[in-house]
Symmetry: C2
Subunit: 383 residues, 2 copies
């Protein structure tokens, strides 16, 4: 937390909770006996409830998109650079909502929550949840907040997949869809990385088949490895080169041993071990599976344009040149499918050396594109 | 093993052993109190001992480059496609030598060998070995075989790094250097992948700080994860797409659980678990460190051309379009440095979808380039 909250921050934010007691039917065929969403809002909902924008978070993200929970917070929300009064996502114009999705571990119902049938944490008995399920719960939240139509739904990475699903499942409930650094489905390589992460977690002896809560432990080694692998895929080769190169830690000579020699090793070890403190390993398993399963075209013989037929929203698609997790090529597949079914789509490919992580960063061209687009949205709905 | 050994195979091969009892001074400052190399040879050394070619193997490779050890062998040596009578590397013309490098686990001295001082396996007390050390031991082997000069030294990946080191350290002892799918040093991303692999092994509770031999166990989980990560980097995204796509195993519907859904998951798990049966985890640690440390330009302020100044050998450099572990760009750095110091260098960038693994495959253009080059070598030395 800075000495004083910057004027362009939303400032202190209090997470809210919405409980949905009814059975939630899930895509996997099972149901969840009620669930809770934790969410945050920024800005003010206008009188005709037309200025609401839903934000969808990514794998390790949460509902805390901007601002601070306490003055002591070391860091603000994950989209602080882009979201706040006068920023590209302007809280003086729009009312933003961001909810932690189910299956995660930041307050919404997930595998670490209590299974009402057993009185113990769900663990791997938690039903599999999918991008479609998340969108369904977000529609429940929209009803709860009495928002008939979002001015826009915006998300990066896995968040972008939720945006696409929104526009297919509830076409009339969003005016605009902003899909950033996403893909219409994972490649075999993407799935392969996810699988290695899951194997790292599940083969950790402290995993206890997902019941580690009862053993007063957690699969720290496995989750840490998963995060290290993730970080390699979030950064581009170039970003790693410019950030670490082959620098040795503290400029020291080679150890000729197995301690840290290079800065990049030190960085990864830190990222791995700090993630373990703030994320639940079971959630990591569930969310990576949701990523693997996402493939809206599959029900249409692989034809994405057909899957997109219901879409009414105007689209903004953004990709980043150095993103090799979800490369610009993958975004162009989305754009192409939207063209094919004659939808309104704008596309921006942003030059960036930051890899997949670019979607979290205040890259000027990216910020400008988002600002301009949302300005047009504001004008269209008469804000 | 096929029903009958193909006519273009070198056939049955018997590995040989050479013991070097003297102290081996290593780059790390320590020494090894004698060492053993296991090696194989293919073809016949000619009278003036001018037709010998040294082959250098990669991370998980060994001395068994071609042929079969027994009629029951399921697979021949790792370069069977390229090495044999009438093949690109023609055993009717040349005498090939391939030695397992020290630190590995296929018969040459390594961390699983007995430390004569303690009577127990070395484990992590084994001294760190480097590419330069390997080349030194291979020069000892050349002396032992009474080969004053190699007609060529050839290697792919880490093997290519040994080739470069040979041409710098013993310029007069090789006429040609063939460097395939290699790089003049690892990038931060390469090091990062290696580090995650090492962490997977070293945090496995069965690792016992490298003394797992005494515990009658091994870090199976960690080594398996390391191999899975490795395989992702050996294959290109395209290769994975064409090999597995998003196919589910047996064409089944999603499990909505954590068993194998996709073919690529099944492939990786198999690759991981089978590797554990044939490779020593400590060797994996040592060899990845040797990879990380390799950087001949570092002693010259990063100027590779200066590091290359001693080189006398003619070079053939080969890269593969879809190799993202050591991309064509990295090979071009080698070529550029050789140009800068006015050395004889040919360069071929081969179109391939097989990623880094291409160097092991009989890709026609690759085979043709290698065959043509070695034909010229044969002519030059009057074979």
């Amino acid at each position: 937390m800075p000495a004083q909250i910057p004027a362009d921050s939303v400032g202190l934010v209090i997470p809210q909770t919405a409980a949905f007691p009814g059975d939630l039917q899930l895509e996997c065929g099972r149901s969840l006996p009620g669930y809770t969403l934790v969410y945050e809002t920024y800005g003010v909902l206008n009188k005709d409830r037309s200025n609401a924008i839903l934000l969808c978070h990514a794998l390790s993200g949460d509902h805390h998109a901007a601002g601070y929970h306490q003055l002591e917070d070391r860091k603000p929300g994950w989209w602080e650079h882009l979201l706040g009064p006068g920023k590209a996502m302007d809280t003086k114009q729009f009312f933003f909502v961001c909810a932690n999705f189910i299956g995660s571990c930041k307050g919404s119902t997930g595998p670490a929550s209590i299974n009402p049938e057993t009185g113990s944490p769900w663990g791997l008995d938690f039903p599999m949840v999918t991008v479609r399920d998340w969108v369904k719960t977000q529609a429940d939240l929209a009803d709860y907040l009495d928002i008939a139509q979002w001015a826009a739904v915006i998300g990066g990475s896995l968040g972008g997949m939720q945006v696409m699903q929104w526009s297919m499942d509830y076409p009339e409930r969003l005016r605009n869809a902003v899909v950033i650094a996403a893909a219409p489905k994972l490649t075999a390589q993407n799935i392969a990385f996810n699988e290695v992460c899951r194997q790292a977690i599940m083969t950790d002896p402290d995993f206890h088949n997902g019941r580690y809560y009862a053993h007063d432990t957690k699969p720290r080694r496995g989750l840490s490895l998963a995060r290290m692998i993730g970080h390699i895929t979030y950064l581009s080769d170039d970003a790693m080169r410019s950030k670490f190169g082959r620098e040795t830690r503290g400029g020291k000579a080679f150890s000729f041993g197995f301690d840290v020699d290079f800065e990049v090793e030190s960085y990864l070890r830190y990222q791995g071990s700090s993630f373990v403190e703030r994320f639940d390993a079971n959630s990591y398993l569930y969310i990576t599976k949701a990523l693997d399963y996402f493939d809206p075209a599959s029900a249409y013989g692989g034809n994405l344009a057909e899957a997109f037929t219901p879409i009414q929203a105007a689209y903004l698609v953004i990709s980043f040149s150095s993103d090799w997790r979800f490369s610009p090529e993958r975004s162009r597949e989305i754009v192409q499918a939207l063209y094919t079914c004659n939808r309104d789509v704008s596309y921006a490919e942003i030059e960036s050396t930051h890899g997949h992580d670019s979607f979290l960063m205040p890259i000027p061209q990216y910020v400008a594109v988002l600002r301009t687009y949302l300005q047009r949205v504001a004008e269209e709905i008469g804000l």
